[in-house]
Symmetry: C2
Amino acid sequence: MRLLFAVLTCFTAAIHLAADGPFSQKTLDHAAKLRELGLKDTRAYSLVESLTVEVGPRMAGTPADKLAVAWAEKKFREMGFDHVAAEPVPVTHWVRGPEHAWITAPYPQVLHITALGHSIGTPPEGLEAEVFMVPDLATLKKSKAEDVRGKIVFINHRTEKSRDGNTYGKTVPGRAAGAAEAAKLGAVGVVIRSIGTDSHRFAHTGVMRYEEDVKRIPAGAISNPDADMVQAQLERGKPVRIKMKLDCKLLGTVMSANVVGEIKGSALPDEAVIISAHLDSWDLGTGALDDGAGVAITMAAAKLIAEAGVRPKRTVRVILFANEESGLEGSRHYVTTHQDKLQNMIIGVESDFGADVIWRFDTRIDEAYLPVADAIHKALEPLGIARGSNRAFGGPDMTPFRMMGVPVVSLLQDGTDYFDFHHTADDTFDKIDPKKMAQNVAAYAVFAFLAAESPDGFGRIPVTAGSP
Amino acid sequence: MRLLFAVLTCFTAAIHLAADGPFSQKTLDHAAKLRELGLKDTRAYSLVESLTVEVGPRMAGTPADKLAVAWAEKKFREMGFDHVAAEPVPVTHWVRGPEHAWITAPYPQVLHITALGHSIGTPPEGLEAEVFMVPDLATLKKSKAEDVRGKIVFINHRTEKSRDGNTYGKTVPGRAAGAAEAAKLGAVGVVIRSIGTDSHRFAHTGVMRYEEDVKRIPAGAISNPDADMVQAQLERGKPVRIKMKLDCKLLGTVMSANVVGEIKGSALPDEAVIISAHLDSWDLGTGALDDGAGVAITMAAAKLIAEAGVRPKRTVRVILFANEESGLEGSRHYVTTHQDKLQNMIIGVESDFGADVIWRFDTRIDEAYLPVADAIHKALEPLGIARGSNRAFGGPDMTPFRMMGVPVVSLLQDGTDYFDFHHTADDTFDKIDPKKMAQNVAAYAVFAFLAAESPDGFGRIPVTAGSP
């Protein structure tokens, strides 16, 4: 069934692409207009200000998460979206309590720590043990149980800056799997050097995973300067002891929602281009960059299309996903509950990398449709956006879609500074530059409009193993 | 007595200055050698690493303050200083406990707060009241009691960046006197926008003062992003309420010490050039910039002079003062207890503005001796240091000396970023650039050596009103 569909769409595409190009001059002129209007946008900046001030941190399952859902529905309605819905999603509810850590020997010092998402807490009196330092997760895996047993493992990996964020992927396994690997060797706790590129006293949270049948031990991250301190004390050759008190716990499953707002298509309203973000945030900051920015950019871009005078033939659907942060729960649920309509989702993208300028346009589409993507790129190019590869990631919440064959694109933002703030108390509104944000709105409006006007969509991509 | 002395020294100076210049070529060559050696210095960087790692935060009166005194004595002795002493000083002991604040209405949010030094605490259950915002202290003073009564005053002044730090002086009165002025109008608490130039979630502490016969109310600072949040909520036109819990208190007077290390002069050992810093720090960071850097720079500069092969004729005295942060208690005590020897202190300087490069050399000396200062400047100029005015501040701990007529200089550091970190948890070792620090060591060594070799010192400056 899927194969047949792919063959048919390839054939149709071939017909259309025989002409001058996939888009009429009138369509391209309107895209240019959207681009210019987008660069003047102030709505996205106002939206993220509103979300961060009036809702603030909105971790999945918390009362503020519900406030955020209500906020998004209200904003979509106020902005006149054609269809607005909050689609219920069960989410994991984990809560953070007070958290403290200290070096107790040889030179007592306070450490700035934060629990990793889904970590268990320590006993109320705290957990104190000698530190066993490893440079990374790979070294931990090769360590001997006799060296690790009874200790707090300190994973001292360092995250370097990069424009495309690839360096994050190198250290994040230490955050995700550090506790399980340390526990297998008998450790009593894990502390990681924050997955962050700043040199400030902000500990970076982020989700971790326990393994079935492996003892659960508490896991926290300390800021880069604090990690330097632990390292400096260890370099003096004396045993270093850490005491940590983490009062966090999983509370089970509660209800949240994916919030959807649509600008209906003029000719093919059942077919949709998805531009998305996630509505939840971590609890430490106000979730301005992660992902208030994405929420605001996608809402503002769709609204811009709605008010600019030309309805594209397909629907532009903004989806604000629930609980991206600790397991892509909203997007997985969306794909599962809308499986029968995935064929109508012609392409998707998520904005979830802050608010810096977009510098590259990647795609992951059926190769037969690359000329359409290249034509879209021509309309993005005046924004300073280069044409990238056809191996787009699409954004975290596009993963379940991608796995089911839905084509995706990435409008890659400059992520050089993103991991300075990511998952910290310092992810606040003041970090957003309104001019850069407007460039994002312009790019999303141009992309969504042209994708929705594409002759025949973008085909399908290979379905990958696993469930969404 | 003082007048007679001034006349005599002026006369002597005039004689010496009639020659080719105040310094021999051999002396100037040695100064050039010190300059080159200083630029290669790594000792200062190691010293501040040691102080921050092995002692860490060292607020006056705390156990860590005593550790710092022991650390300084030990380092002076290890480095072979001729005379080392810890001279007891009574200091005010104030302690900080847990501190929390929230906006409770209209949009509940967590605020990052820190108590101002010497503030009283709130009741254990916290203090909650409506906010009354003023742009600065001057406006508060002109406000009506009926508007302020029963409220928490929010002083929303903003500290701008400046190379010479003059902007700090514009907002710091709000920190110092905000609580007293607010209490006069019936306020129940004060929150200030941090005296800081960063946009991070670090609240900046710093000392405040109560007035006799004015009710004492708790005073805290919130970070710039948190101040933005309070302001944004107020701009929505609804009453904003803040709840604050500050568990801090004054514990009375305990003993600390000024730690002195001397490189004895070859000809006039009783006459001394003072290069100084303060040993105490606030409790939030590890006091790397404020003032571990000054401690390290002055110790390393004096040691460099000692080991470079030429003893200057006068003594170079390093003084690491106790409790600069909450009242210049160490330097006041030093001047009081050494009043009979002030005439032998020919000039002084304090390094207390971080570890960035020195860019200007200011003096405050008898004008008859300006040619000597200009000759010293010529030796500093290759370090990129400009000649400034004869209205030097000298550093906070030079204030009591200056008031008693002791000439001072300022080796002005670039303070553009200093108030990003000042008095926060973020004042840590990683903020120091070893190359810039070495430039400081070079400048201090050149200055101290030549000042100690000056023909007849720098005269006296006018004694100012008040006690030290």
